[in-house]
Amino acid sequence: MVETIAVYWEDRIKTYGFELATGLALVQARWAAGREDRREAPGPTYGLVLAQSFDGATLELTLVMEAQAVSDLEKRPGRLELYEVTAPVDMVHFQGPHFGDRYGIAAAAFAALAEDGLPLLAAGCAGSSIYLVLSEGRGEKARKALDQSFQVPRAQESEK
């Protein structure tokens, strides 16, 4: 494995721009190994899936999906047991150079939201992506708050 040292010279952390999706559903589901698998290709898609286990056995998933995908899933849940759907919710996600390899990215993002009093419903940082799930109407506010801490590409800047 190659080890390398990177130095970042930025006034503000660079991103490839922010993506805001609204009108989504936040789904809490259990994955039940013993249930019948009735998969049908290609299957519904998600915008985000997160999970964590504290006891090594609980398989509870947090999914962010389009309303239609939730409807499809409710008809053919397979091994997923949906137990709570919160809708609508907003989701902001963004990527940036070497996110995942450098410190301070998550700190800047969560500080920006906290300073504007924007509570999170869920969040995930994996690879070079950051996903933030917020209540309806708070996505645009979150994007504006993040704009203060992060640099967006000029093309997106001009769209504002």
């Binding site: 494995m1 390398t4 299957g43 286990s53 947090t62 969560f110 500080a111 509570p119 995930g124």
Partner: protein
């Protein structure tokens, strides 16, 4: 059953997992620990925040060699809005790509790991990837389990990570 084709599987280098539960809300705890890790120049390689009804959890991975220092920096999870945390010193990430955000890929992955009695600690998707956190010693077994249901391209790149980036604030000739 035919295997489902995916583009590849990648392992991370060894990480430590910090877990915090029993939070009434992500803030102020989450911004607080992330700030402390940033001040300690510790990179967060993976992070998940989930919860409902004033019961939130946070899972956070940092380089294994930094995990003990990271856990100390965040006061073991105690502090504003926090509770006692847990440190798992040796975990790794296993990323499948591209998954096209397809629930079938998620379901197949969970089933494969379950059949092999492999415990995962967290998972998160990103643009085209599904990433699991498992014990580092279990990564090879997990690859074996997953390649039982997913077909990888011939000439697949090595599973091992190819690069590890350290972040510095100074150029080498200035140090």
């Amino acid at each position: 059953m035919d295997k489902v084709r995916i583009g590849g599987i990648k392992k991370s280098y060894e990480l430590g997992l910090l877990k915090f539960g029993g939070l009434r809300a992500p803030a102020p705890f989450l911004p607080g620990i992330c700030r402390k890790l940033a001040e300690g120049r510790i990179n967060i390689a993976f992070l998940v925040v989930t919860g409902r009804k004033e019961e939130y959890q946070v899972s956070c991975c940092v380089a294994a060699e930094e995990a003990g220092r990271a856990f100390d920096l965040v006061g073991h999870g105690r502090g504003p809005g926090g509770t006692e945390g847990r440190l798992r010193p040796s975990v790794g990430l296993l990323s499948l790509y591209p998954t096209r955000a397809n629930l079938n890929v998620l379901d197949l992955s969970l089933a494969a790991l379950h059949r092999s009695a492999l415990t995962w600690h967290a998972l998160a998707s990103s643009l085209s990837t599904l990433t699991f956190v498992l014990d580092y010693r279990d990564l090879e077994a997990a690859i074996e389990a997953l390649t039982g249901v997913f077909e990888l391209p011939s000439g697949h790149a090595p599973f091992e990570p190819e690069m590890k980036v350290f972040q510095s604030t100074a150029l080498k000739n200035e140090e």
